[in-house]
Symmetry: C2
Subunit: 242 residues, 2 copies
């Protein structure tokens, strides 16, 4: 027997993992449900039990399943675990979950700073601001819509650059900001409004997690302030208390 499958050139254990993952995604194995035993999966796929174990280990690494000795392997919470840290980066979080992140600019425009925005961004009231409306995906599933305000004076071409790169991190890098951190985040919940519902592909009346946060440079200078709305059905914030 060869190591790689002849057709696909993909390792056997990965093909088994993908098969199980599809089962979880399409609801064949609902959250909390027990998967078939390792030997049973091995027989079904006609592979060695070690190969199944390798596949399950990969899924467990990503948090999709959890093994319990003597009992079985169980499907974990299906929501995207989203850590709220100082170094929260959407692309890194989604990528770490084994999913493919994507960002998309859906609108942009010019605003003037309200009192609240001016305070958060450290500019004067009525200072010109750039407003970006973004939509972010994990594996083509919309996760969150966000409204970002930046100082128009400091980031004049922000809209065009985000449009091209699809990444806030890259946008800031273009202006020489290699690193930044998140200040305090304020989290609450609400009901999705009509336009967000369409963009997030959510039914009306569904809950959204609303996060207000401001990113600052390492020296404390405000860069951007955001108001994000996450589809609560698809996301779970994980807060590590130190």
């Amino acid at each position: 027997m060869t190591i790689m499958d002849q057709d696909s050139g993909v390792a056997l254990w990965r093909r088994v993992a993908d098969s199980i993952e599809r089962g979880i995604a399409d609801g064949s194995y609902p959250a909390g449900e027990r998967l078939p035993g390792e030997v049973e999966i091995a027989d079904a796929h006609r592979v060695n039990r070690h190969t199944v174990r390798r596949a399950l280990a990969a899924l467990a690494e990503r948090g999709l399943v959890r093994a319990e000795r003597g009992s079985g392997t169980y499907v974990q919470a299906s929501k995207l675990a989203y850590p709220l840290h100082a170094r929260t980066r959407f692309s890194e979080i989604v990528g770490a979950g084994g999913r493919e992140p994507r960002g998309q600019l859906i609108a942009s425009g010019d605003d003037v700073a309200t009192r609240e925005l001016a305070r958060q961004l450290g500019v004067k009231v009525n200072a010109p601001l750039l407003r970006l409306e973004t939509l972010r995906f994990a594996d083509r599933v919309p996760i969150c819509v966000g409204t970002t305000w930046l100082s128009a004076a400091r980031f004049p071409d922000a809209a065009a650059i985000y449009q091209r790169t699809g990444s806030m991190t890259k946008l800031l890098a273009h202006y020489g900001i290699r690193d930044y951190r998140r200040g305090v985040s304020r989290v609450t919940a609400g009901i999705v409004d009509a336009s967000d519902a369409a963009r997030l592909d959510l039914a009306l009346g569904r809950p959204v997690l609303m996060v207000d946060s401001t990113d600052v440079t390492l020296s404390g200078e405000p860069l951007q302030t955001k108001h994000s709305r996450f589809a609560a059905d698809r996301v779970e914030f994980v807060i590590e208390s130190d």
Copy 2:
């Protein structure tokens, strides 16, 4: 003129502050709104402007209002700011906000550990558990309902003690646990169910913030695991990113 008001024995500036606070609480002054000018308030209450300033300073200290020189005084976020830290204590948070915390046991019963609960509490599946349903207030406004599970073997009289003290911290202290910390918290949102709606005095269809967390001793032993539902309209989680 005396310092204390003749009738109530409460300082004048405090009476003014309470008056303004009531206005904020009942919606007369919505969040973000500009309060009347200091002289206007002074005239309305027939006090000196200095007395009003003393009152506003007290409110600003608690974060209810924010003064801006040359512009006015504005109502800050009216939601209860609820920090999610390792040392989160409901009573301390509410008290720090200048509001009066209260806890009430609304139900209790016996459960057996599901797989999930057993894992979180470090006990065996089907181990006997105590379930406490609690309702917590700030100034007589219901803030959150919580379901707490504890090991029945370790905390046999938990229900009676919570009933008497109305405090989780005191309950644990009764069993010799002087200090404890919160592990990871998982936060998401949902729609209030019928029974929670009644207890929280919320309209059906309103969003709730749902928090799953487990408290552990300083040495890492699991004590209690909780599923809390916060009225999203009244609470805002504050997450400090370190």
